[in-house]
């Protein structure tokens, strides 16, 4: 027995982008249904590194990242929990003079973006926090960047959206999306939902809907390679990254050091893992970066399927083909921090037809429209 439902907006995907979009739509009083194939926030939104970082993002992305940053500052008000969010600071390490110069250039380029970057040389760094051993020549510190627990935060967005009046259906895979000339018809095994607006926030699986709607994108799956140590006495306040390198890590208050860097392994359409060659590369890098980890043990590895586009920017856009269709996907390696900002922008885009934050660089037709090839 297929249940018939009518609403203003259907959001496909209950990850952080979809759930946040639903939440901000509700704040504008717009009726919304979220359909999630598995459990909300259980895929890449819930299993990513948990970095809440602006430093290192492209100039095109920083305005949106800043808008998101404002929401992170009032998380409890927004979703009713902090989900271990801390503005712990994010430090990007330079291991060579060339890397340091690259960080200096980035700091200059982003001077007016509100990151308040502090460039530290090796001596200053060792005064503040002895990290990275002798190879470190310095780095760039962003004091208000931080970290949060994605396992808790991403599901919390869906819960908050539901509390705000969104109808959230889990275990509801979308079979197809059609338009009957008047409205969209979104079908799941148990429902047929009619809506004026559809938001494609299906993460790694969003490409198929875009293609169905006649606007394929060159998205590929890139699984991160994540791991975590046993709990250790707390010593690492900052979230760490390495310029031009392939390791990043942070220590949670419980004591575990969470890390990533390098490619994971895609098992099939829905599952991914870390891969052994990556683990072998990660462990010595970690010990070199943080000698405190020398005698620690790795207790778990994981990954998730993340969608990546050739220019490393996501798609945040109205459809170029179909009025009423919107896309927000392709955030591999950097979506978590953007979650609240993207939800806010999508709701604004749907309600007002425009975004007050520039998102032109994230248009869906940028790979096909010659005018966009900048």
């Amino acid at each position: 027995m297929v249940k018939q439902l009518a609403t203003e907006v259907v959001v496909i995907g209950g990850g952080i982008m979809g759930a946040s979009t639903a939440l901000f739509l509700r704040k504008r009083g717009i009726q919304v249904v979220v359909v999630e194939r598995d459990l909300c926030g259980s895929r890449s939104s819930g299993v990513n590194f948990g970095g809440v970082r602006r430093q290192g993002r492209s100039l095109a992305m920083l305005p949106l990242s800043q808008r998101s940053h404002q929401h992170w500052g009032r998380l409890t008000e927004l979703i009713g929990t902090e989900a271990e969010y801390e503005r712990s600071g994010h430090f990007k390490i330079a291991r060579s003079q060339a890397d340091m110069e690259s960080l200096v250039r980035y700091a200059e380029k982003t001077r007016d973006c509100g990151l308040d970057l502090q460039l530290l040389d090796g001596a200053e760094l060792h005064k503040r926090f002895p990290v990275g051993g002798a190879k470190v020549v310095g780095g760039s510190f962003c004091p208000d960047d931080g970290q949060a627990n994605p396992r808790l935060l991403s599901p919390a967005f869906a819960t908050a959206a539901a509390r705000a009046g969104a109808q959230v259906f889990e275990h509801s895979p979308v079979l197809d999306v059609a338009h009957n000339g008047q409205r969209f018809v979104v079908r799941t095994p148990e429902m047929e939902i009619r809506a004026n607006v559809v938001v494609n926030a299906a993460g790694a699986w969003a490409g198929q809907f875009a293609e169905q709607c006649g606007e394929p994108v060159p998205m590929r799956i890139r699984p991160p390679a994540m791991g975590v140590t046993e709990p250790l006495p707390f010593f690492l306040h900052w979230s760490l990254g390495v310029e031009g390198g392939s390791i990043y890590c942070r220590q949670v208050r419980r004591g575990n050091v969470v890390f990533g860097g390098g490619p994971g392994l895609v098992l099939d359409d829905t599952r991914a893992r870390n891969r052994h060659t990556t683990v072998w590369a990660q462990l010595p890098q970690l010990v070199e970066l943080l000698p405190q980890l020398k005698n620690a043990q790795l207790i778990r590895t994981w990954s998730g399927n993340e969608g990546a586009l050739p220019d490393h920017e996501p798609i945040i856009s109205a459809s170029s083909r179909q009025a009423g269709l919107y896309h927000a996907f392709g955030f591999a390696g950097g979506g978590f921090q953007l979650g609240p900002g993207v939800g806010d922008v999508m709701a604004e885009l749907i309600a007002q037809g425009r975004s007050s934050t520039p998102i032109d660089a994230f248009r869906i037709d940028r790979f096909t429209d010659p005018a966009c090839s900048t």
Partner: protein, 477 residues
């Protein structure tokens, strides 16, 4: 299939020796069978010496006799050990080696003493990973002096020491009596055996037990021996808590009549039978199904021990607890299936006989479940303050509160939300108890809770390990 540059390209090798993981009764018999048919397997084992948990050997220089160490099983133990010693020169035997991951057709190995890592590709693989204690925590179980039954047995067999000078054994299952007997026989002071199974269950099970009269007789013998030697044995008890300041000093329990009892002791051996070690089968991609007999998900096997993954065979307790004798048979049967799949002639009559014997064991195993039933009321009685997950210090109350927000009861989601099973043991110790509490809280069948997803490493991996061979991965990483 969604597009990615990060799929694994690791086709099944066309040749290479068969690989056996685990050198307990199942692994040893599998190795023997393969050798007898002209194949020389690689045998990987976590322990320094072959024998498995049940026939664990004492370190060099320890002088207890097999009879002292293994009692009734001395003959079987000696036979297995001698078989292995005889075969060993022909095997590629790798002791002290943990399989920490499986990726495609590669096993990731860690030499635990040298902290060196390497990879072994396999064409066919017999997984004989065995079992560990099924733990249902008791308030106070994290006090020093509280051991699992298996741990108590390892102390005695491998380290030649007792877990305490005045010991209580509690829980249920055949191992409860065996370990109590072994302790008492070795000169340990056993103050009591506290069995949560009511005595009447034993009589209910008796007719079916006769499927294996010799095994049943051993059980009767242990019980009689304990009673003859004035070891108090109580049936139908309810375990309330372990008490003590810095370490355990007493166990508090209710007898079958409902009277509260207090037994001072210096150590407790606690256990409710065994649970299969299934992480490797999980990482290999084997299909699992819920097995009511084992009250948990186990990898699926056909009558000849083939898993759902081509080239992977499951022998012994790792595919469901059937005991050591059955493990020997299933090890041989798995090896015969492997040989058959390689196109090597095998003795069909022998296979038929092994299948038949395993069927009989299955009947006996069902009777054991009647004699020593799982304490169905354990979860409902577990107090809120009980620490269920000791790695992450997660209490029954926290589990219940989290379950209340997750009516579907998926244990992986609940793990993500409250950290149960997220510590060093990765749910190997706490998974059973957590599952029971979740099912009880949500009033759903245990099967609906699911199982904790296997994630490498199977056991903790030292960050400073040295990778000694990466040649295989260059082409298959």
């Amino acid at each position: 299939m969604i597009g990615s540059d990060f799929y694994l390209d690791d086709p099944r090798p066309a040749d290479g020796p068969p690989v056996i993981v685990g050198a307990g009764p199942a692994g040893i018999r599998a190795a023997q069978t393969l050798l007898a048919h002209g194949l020389r397997p690689v045998v990987i084992d976590e322990a320094p010496q072959a024998g498995g948990q049940i026939y664990r050997r004492q370190p060099d220089g320890f002088g207890r006799t097999p009879k002292d160490l293994y009692g009734f099983e001395a003959g079987r133990a000696s036979d297995l050990h001698q078989t292995f010693d005889r075969l060993r020169p022909q095997l590629d035997y790798r002791p002290d080696t943990l399989v920490w991951n499986a990726q495609g057709h590669s096993l990731d190995l860690l030499h635990t003493a040298q902290r060196t890592a390497n990879t072994l590709r396999w064409r066919d693989l017999i997984v004989a990973t065995g079992a560990t204690d099924r733990v249902l925590p008791l308030p106070g179980w994290t006090l020093p002096g509280v051991y699992t039954l298996g741990g108590a047995q390892v102390a005695l067999k491998y380290q030649g020491c007792a877990i305490g000078d005045a010991v209580v054994f509690a829980g249920t299952g055949p191992l409860l009596y065996l370990v109590a007997y072994q302790y008492a026989k070795a000169g340990g002071r056993v103050l009591a055996v506290l069995d949560t199974a009511p005595a009447v269950q034993r009589y209910k099970a008796a007719p079916a037990m006769l499927a294996q009269p010799a095994v049943a007789a051993k059980g009767v013998y242990f019980l009689s021996w304990l009673m003859f030697h004035d070891v108090p044995v109580h049936h139908g008890v309810q375990l309330l808590r372990a008490e003590g300041a810095d370490r355990v000093q007493a166990i508090v329990w209710k007898d079958a009549q409902g009277a509260e009892q207090h037994t001072a002791c210096s150590a407790i051996g606690l256990g409710y039978a065994l649970r299969p070690e299934t992480q490797l089968a999980d990482l290999l991609g084997c299909e699992f199904a819920f097995a009511p007999l084992h009250r948990c998900y186990v990898p699926q096997i056909d009558a000849d021990r083939r898993s759902s993954v081509p080239g992977v065979y499951l022998a012994g307790d790792g595919a469901g607890i059937m005991g050591a004798d059955a493990a020997e048979m299933s090890g041989e049967l798995a090896a015969l299936a492997l040989l058959e799949d390689r196109g090597i002639a095998t003795d069909a009559a022998r296979q038929a006989k092994l299948r038949q014997q395993l069927d009989k064991t299955q009947q006996f195993r069902q009777a054991l479940e009647v004699a020593f039933p799982f304490p169905d009321d354990w979860a409902a009685r577990a107090p809120d303050a009980l620490v269920v997950c000791r790695c992450e210090n997660i209490t029954a109350a926290e589990l219940r509160a989290t379950a209340a927000t997750q009516p579907q009861g998926d244990i992986n989601r609940i793990k993500a939300l409250c950290r149960v099973g997220m510590g060093r043991c990765q749910g190997r110790m706490c998974g059973v108890a957590a599952t029971e509490i979740l099912a009880d809280t949500l009033k759903v069948p245990v099967a609906q809770i699911g199982r904790i997803r296997g994630q490498a490493p199977i056991k903790p991996l030292p960050l400073d390990m040295t990778v000694v061979s990466t040649d295989q991965e260059a082409s298959h990483g």
